[in-house]
Symmetry: C2
Amino acid sequence: MTPTPPLILVTNDDGITAPGIRALIRVMNEIGTVVVVAPDKPQSAMGHAITIHDALYCDPVVVDKDAVQKEYSCSGTPVDCVKIAARQILGRKPDLCVSGINHGSNSAINVMYSGTMSAAIEAGIQGVPAIGFSLLDYGMDADFEPSLPYIRAIVAQVLAHGLPKGVVLNVNIPKLVHSEIKGMKICRQANAHWLEDFNERKNPMGKTYYWLTGTFVNEDKGEDTDEWALQNGYVSIVPTQFDLTAHHALQELNSWDFEGGEREC
Amino acid sequence: MTPTPPLILVTNDDGITAPGIRALIRVMNEIGTVVVVAPDKPQSAMGHAITIHDALYCDPVVVDKDAVQKEYSCSGTPVDCVKIAARQILGRKPDLCVSGINHGSNSAINVMYSGTMSAAIEAGIQGVPAIGFSLLDYGMDADFEPSLPYIRAIVAQVLAHGLPKGVVLNVNIPKLVHSEIKGMKICRQANAHWLEDFNERKNPMGKTYYWLTGTFVNEDKGEDTDEWALQNGYVSIVPTQFDLTAHHALQELNSWDFEGGEREC
């Protein structure tokens, strides 16, 4: 079904020069025709933000000399990158979109805040098979080599099977050497959240400001979650959807007396 | 269960002075003790973005003189507002969080981009019953009065029943006079997307830039969707979740031969 070679859109949220996307581009060049459209600066934690009040720039750039791929640097968010790639840059719908490799985890509730995953989700909304890859190492000197065989394997399966409609993959890779990684597990998103701790300071003019910091709290004891897999040496693969309807709650809500409440008002 | 009067956090994404949030505050003052923590400027389409690379300011402000509610203006995103309210401003977990009234629709896939709904979802992540309200009128002179009886009715039901764990409500209200609104419907999120059309221009230095514009495309013919309800004169109520796991896809993915793919690499 997929033309040979597949057209692969590569993006991320750490910015077009981040080591994680450079590693991902190298692997994708083995597999297909690569076009990179990625943010011109770090865009971590931008979630599914888009740029509607500002102009967007999107310009060809050369990051690696002798590169075979075309690359475009975009002033917007990761989701903007996918939108402008699909409708302005590529000329046709890509066969695959890969986002990352993110410097840091996007497991559990982090999927909501993640620019990396929001880019993959946006590609999924547009009907493009899409995968977000994240390594559990925030360092700019992170070693991406142990991730690469898993990325190759997952991309091969997605190109072979396609993905179910409305589903993209959230892949997280533990910070381990290759021999320590036990394999891959299909998981559900762990039920976890951040407990924020705002760091209060005074600026030089004496005005109070805050830094957002926090502690990750995993309330989920299940052994079928991404958190369990990662803590036990596995690459986690979570099928992720953008139909946010809580279908299981429709029946209960339909038993409520909304109209009675309205009549009383 | 809920203390009397309930502590109600009010936020939005159009900014603390927007007519929509002022209308919502007036209604919430009828129901409980209101604290407003809202963005100091428009933050539409910010999705679930949070501020991690910048300082956050959050200061008491007086928007309405003689107001009974406390109000704080925050330099961050709608999600930042909920986080700083919960952990720095309120002193305890609120009994309810309401977000809006948004100037414009957050139905269907718009839930992903919406700062209004991301604020409600963030409250839900923190275990607070939460509702996002949106009126299908982008005008700053929008008439919020016909929305108010529905907001009262929905809040009354949520305070009476609580909400199922992991579920918040996405409420959209058609742009109609009260007599034309037929009632409320519990709906699923319609399968729809935006078809972007990038408006290309040159800046005064001759450099190309783009404005993100687009057309909303609803592919969903179902009569149980939010889009159907709104187009047929009903207020739509979609139970919305932040477990993005595509549970229905777990079985299929588990049949794939990921490890075989890895061995070949």
